[in-house]
Amino acid sequence: MARYLFRRLLTMVPLLLGITMISFAVIHLAPGEPTGLQAEFNPKITKEARERLRAYYGLDKPLHIQYLLWLKRVATLDLGRSFSPDRRPVSEKILERLPITVTINLLSMLLIILVAIPIGVYCATHQGSFGDRALTVFVFVGYATPTFWLALLLMLLFGVKLGWLPISGIRSLVGYEAMGPLEKAIDMGRHLLLPVLVSAFGGLAGLSRYMRTSLLEVIRQDYITAARAKGLPEGKVIYKHALRNALLPVITILGLSVPGLIGGSVIFETIFSIPGMGQLFFYSVMARDYPVVMGMLVIGAVLTLVGNLLADLAYAWADPRIRVG
């Protein structure tokens, strides 16, 4: 396993380099230079900030030197300072918002797993039944639903019409400090319920479809026929023999869904006014706060890389063929 981990970490190095190269290329997409034309017209950027950015990227030097200089700083997590009036370091701004986004994404991933896998198993074991067909249609509809629209409808139903749930923020603005620990948890839970549901919805459709296909493929294998032939009850065949193997590719899909979840956080955090990474990204984009935008591009991609690594490790842990081979 240690050897596998080492090999796997090694493959991440060129990817990390590639990530920084593309992020760097995006910075230089701005017409002229990052401090140039657009900054001139941006009243939010002072002359001093522009000079600082010039110095940070070493814009008077050749491009490859600029890249190396920038890379050296990024490697030490020095992502520069924000253009916004608070002028705080970018890494600090991102780090304080990371936990809330990661929490919501983990919760929605958990929800996806808990709901999608049983749905997928049901559809595969009842292939062609009314339930299977109904769920298949539901999955297609889920794929096609714009999450921000779903968020609006849920806000309208539960927030406005029924008044059951709060529709913005992560805690009550009034009276939160006076609550006991349990009440605080309930309060946050009520605030997070809709965002988690919305961000899980898209992945739900995809994963349950995938689970169904994967299990159907496994059921066709010879060892399942063998298990049935030796007289094992169907429940045991499915849950003990088939499901384990069918779950393997699902782990990979979960890892691959990380960038989608992080990208999706822009949408639901903006709609629900949640102070997470997505909201920060959106505000920074709107304010043309380049240092923050670039820092988040790099960190978003690195988070994806970590997600994929975790998925691969889980896969290797579950499948001896990978970690030994």
Partner: protein
């Protein structure tokens, strides 16, 4: 033909095809079938709920929602087709080159694919659109540039197996150039899956465009797009549900149509994949 019979037997695929055809027709015929001018402001008919004159109501400026949805369909389809066209062109060329040549060329292109897949696409798209100016053309190009990786992998996989076939050897021994072998001999045999992934890609490009427009950095008002109509819906959520409900339904139906059709064509092309 087996393909058409299998496709027509698949009820979901037929439903998808019908949805797609109706939407295409509605977009093309927008000037003739839209009951009102989508940009015409009526200060005396602001936020009218669905009624006989306005089946889907009117918005905060008194514009007819149904007419705006019909015209907005043109934008969505334009973005979908152009973005997917760009993504497919890039994916096919890179995938073909990687699969045909192999070696370090393949390694380089596939690492690029891996790197691009690491970026949360929505982050990348937002950043680029913000650095350039938000416009419908920029959006189409950026969505195209960030969604070619799936096609590239697909085409590469097809090429890896196809290039070993006898007909490729035959073409090569006749002195055909690599470009000719790639595009004239091998590529036509790999187009089925590419076509399927393009149709599925249209749906996701439309979703991305609507999300960008909803956030205010996509298609800019007064041009109606389903996404920016929903922005207005959010502002009037408590008093005018129809501003949120109908544009979203239009997006859902469109994406659903393309996805059903795409999966149907995939199953009809290769029945072994059908589960």
């Amino acid at each position: 033909m087996m393909f058409w019979r299998r496709l027509l037997e698949n009820k979901l695929a037929v439903a998808g095809g019908v949805i797609v055809s109706v939407l295409l027709a509605a977009s093309l015929l927008a000037p003739f079938i839209a009951p009102y001018d989508p940009a015409q402001i009526h200060v005396d008919r602001v936020l009218v709920p669905p009624c006989k004159e306005h089946p889907l109501g009117t918005d905060q400026l008194g514009r007819d929602v149904l007419s705006r949805i019909i015209w907005g369909g043109r934008i969505s389809l334009l973005v979908g087709f152009v973005a997917v066209g760009i993504a497919t062109a890039i994916g096919v060329v890179l995938g073909a080159v990687a699969g045909y040549y192999g070696g370090w060329v393949d390694g380089l292109i596939m690492r690029l694919v891996d790197v691009m897949l690491c970026f949360p696409a929505f982050f990348l798209i937002l950043a680029v659109v913000a650095l350039l100016e938000p416009s419908i053309w920029n959006i189409m190009v950026v969505i195209g540039l960030t969604s070619w990786m799936g096609v590239a992998r697909l085409v590469r996989a097809e090429f890896l197996s196809l290039k070993e076939r006898d007909f490729v050897l035959a073409a090569r021994s006749l002195g055909a150039s690599p470009a000719r072998i790639i595009f004239v001999h091998i590529l036509p045999n790999a187009m089925g899956p590419v076509f399927v992934s393009a149709i599925l890609g249209i749906g996701s490009a439309i979703l991305t465009e609507s999300a960008l427009s909803f956030l205010g950095i996509g298609v800019q008002p007064p041009t109606p797009s389903w996404g920016n109509m929903l922005t207005a819906g959010k502002d009037h959520l408590e008093i005018a549900y129809w501003l949120s409900l109908f544009p979203g339904l239009a997006i859902l139906l469109t994406v659903l149509g393309y996805n059903l059709l795409g999966e149907g064509i995939r199953d009809a092309l290769d029945p072994r994949l059908r589960d």
